[in-house]
């Protein structure tokens, strides 16, 4: 028995002892659960293998002598033995290179993956699913979808309850307020609310048929309140004279001529989303990145707000 083996064995025994003490002393002890048992088995294996591998190499350093055929070159008197690549290793190396070329060119072509490609696939899958799932959505479900889109995209300006946050944006709980009506009469409008170019002239071209003259300040005041009150109160005669020829006697708009002033319609909202809008309060950007179903849903939601 060599001293080295003796030392190694003592070291192994000590390590095992420590392991036993630390495990047995821990909560649960040595025999209670499989995880502890596995950990101990692993520790034993590691200690034993490590010690004996180390001993092998230390022995080799102690007793081995150099032998073999020297290579031609010598660096300042230091030579190098010829040490040929083992055949099995060489075959594996060449096979790996062949596999590498195959993998790079055919197995996983360099242009096969792109982040944008993955993005496009994700979007296509999502869109198909969306179309499929919400193909026939209508009624309350559509309003619910509209509310969720509203909370994601619209509430930043219009507020959680769609009240326009103290006049910072339009209050969507009612069709229109008096200030907006006045502004539009003063300045005219071309907001593509019908989805096409259909400008409304300003007050200099608004003729009141009842009085037979251009609309006056007092009449603007009256008719603004009349429209803002949901087509009721004073000012009906001014509306009939100056506005109804385009907006209809009931203010509900005329196809291809003028938008509905009495109430929201989903189509009106969709047109605002598509084209944006600019009037008394400020500008609203267009939200044409929503898909058609989402726009329809927002239209349904906003229409539902004022028709409760």
């Amino acid at each position: 028995m060599n001293k080295l083996y003796l030392g190694g064995s003592i070291f192994v025994a000590l390590m095992l002892l420590f392991t036993y003490i630390s495990v047995a002393g821990s909560k649960g002890g040595l025999n209670s659960d499989i995880v502890n048992m596995l950990a101990v088995a692993g520790a034993v294996a590691i200690v034993v293998i490590t010690v004996f591998v180390v001993i092998k190499y230390v022995r080799q350093m102690q007793v081995d002598t150099a032998s073999g055929e020297l290579a031609k070159e010598s660096w300042d008197g230091i030579g190098e033995y010829k040490n040929n690549v083992p055949m099995g290793w060489a075959i594996m190396f060449l096979l790996t290179m062949v596999w590498g070329m195959w993998y790079w060119l055919i197995g996983y072509p360099v242009n096969k993956y792109s982040q944008i490609g993955e993005y496009n696939e994700d979007v296509a899958v999502h869109n198909t699913k969306f179309q499929e799932k919400y193909k026939d959505i209508s009624g309350d479900k559509l309003v619910e979808m509209g509310e969720s889109v509203f909370l994601a995209e619209c509430k930043v300006c219009h507020g959680l309850s769609a009240d326009g946050i103290d006049g910072k944006a339009a209050n969507l709980n009612k069709r229109i307020d008096a200030a907006s009506v006045k502004y539009i009469i003063e300045h005219g409008s071309n907001n593509k609310l019908l989805g096409m170019e259909m400008p409304m002239p300003d007050r200099n071209a608004l003729f009141n048929a009842t009085s037979g003259a251009l609309i006056t300040d007092a009449e603007i005041e009256l008719v603004a309140n009349y429209v803002a009150n949901g087509m009721s109160g004073e000012g009906a005669d001014v509306f009939a004279g100056a506005c109804s020829s385009c907006h209809g006697a009931d203010g509900k708009g005329v196809d291809f001529v003028a938008p509905n002033l009495a109430q929201y319609t989903p189509a009106l909202v969709v047109n605002v989303l598509n084209n944006g809008k600019k009037a008394a309060i400020g500008a609203m950007p267009k939200f044409d990145r929503l898909n058609d179903k989402q726009k329809e849903a927002v239209g349904a939601y906003i229409t539902s707000l004022s028709s409760k």
Partner: protein
């Protein structure tokens, strides 16, 4: 076979360097040059927008707001089309950022407006309940630095060939020309002209009065910059 190389470590190192840099050159540089060209619709900053960009940087907006939309559906749903390298062609420096305390602003010009920014910068919580953004009220009184913006325009035009006073192709097939002044006075006049358009959409009477007097408060420049982010 290569023992002679091993005897000359210096030349060996040089050889390794050349082989690796050659591979880098032919693989990286061409696609980099291709991708960093301005995409259609990317225009240089006007004087006022550039002054606004300086306000943006000096107030460290970029510490909380990124300007980089990544190609994930959750991001493009919220912020619009993912960012392309060429869109930063005129950004010196770019303001990508890697931390979002606030939302990304890469395309904020598409979905926020002048009057919204005005309300928001004055009192963020009034439009976004629970927002952690502080108010930036001094922007409404400080004047923006048009001279520096103009100096930067001149520099980038001269040294990087940024196409001022040239036709820039836009996405819808039309073109637009971003003007640069020939003198500081002209640059200021151009900036003021732009500022008047912005101020017309604003509500703050002090800002409107200042622009009417020929001054440009920082908020106007900043909003011009925000609106240009598309």
């Amino acid at each position: 076979m290569f023992h002679w190389l091993e005897k000359h470590p210096f030349f060996f190192a040089v050889g390794v360097f050349i082989v690796i840099s050659f591979a880098g050159l032919i693989e990286i540089l061409p696609s980099f040059a291709q991708a960093s060209r301005p995409v259609i619709g990317t225009a240089p900053y006007s004087t006022l927008e550039l002054a606004g960009r300086h306000v943006y940087i000096s107030n460290s907006c970029n510490a909380c707001h990124s300007q980089l939309v990544r190609p994930f559906k959750s991001e493009t749903d919220r912020y619009g089309h993912y960012s392309l390298s060429g869109e930063y062609a005129y950004d010196r420096p770019f303001l990508w950022g890697s931390k979002r305390t606030g939302p990304d602003l890469m395309r904020v010009g598409n979905y926020r407006t002048t009057d919204w920014h005005e309300n928001h910068m004055k009192d963020p919580q009034s439009v976004v309940p629970g927002s952690v953004m502080p108010a930036y009220r001094w922007l409404f009184t400080n004047s923006s630095d048009i001279e520096t913006a103009f100096a930067e325009q001149l520099t980038v035009e001269k040294h990087f060939g940024v196409p001022y006073n040239k036709e820039i192709p836009l996405k819808d097939g039309t073109t637009k020309v971003v003007k640069i002044g020939q003198s500081v006075a002209e640059a200021k006049a151009l900036a003021l002209e732009e500022a008047k358009v912005i101020a017309a959409d604003m509500k703050d009477q002090d800002v409107k009065d200042a622009v009417a007097r020929g001054e440009i408060p920082e908020i106007v420049a900043l909003i011009a910059y925000m609106n240009s982010l598309k």
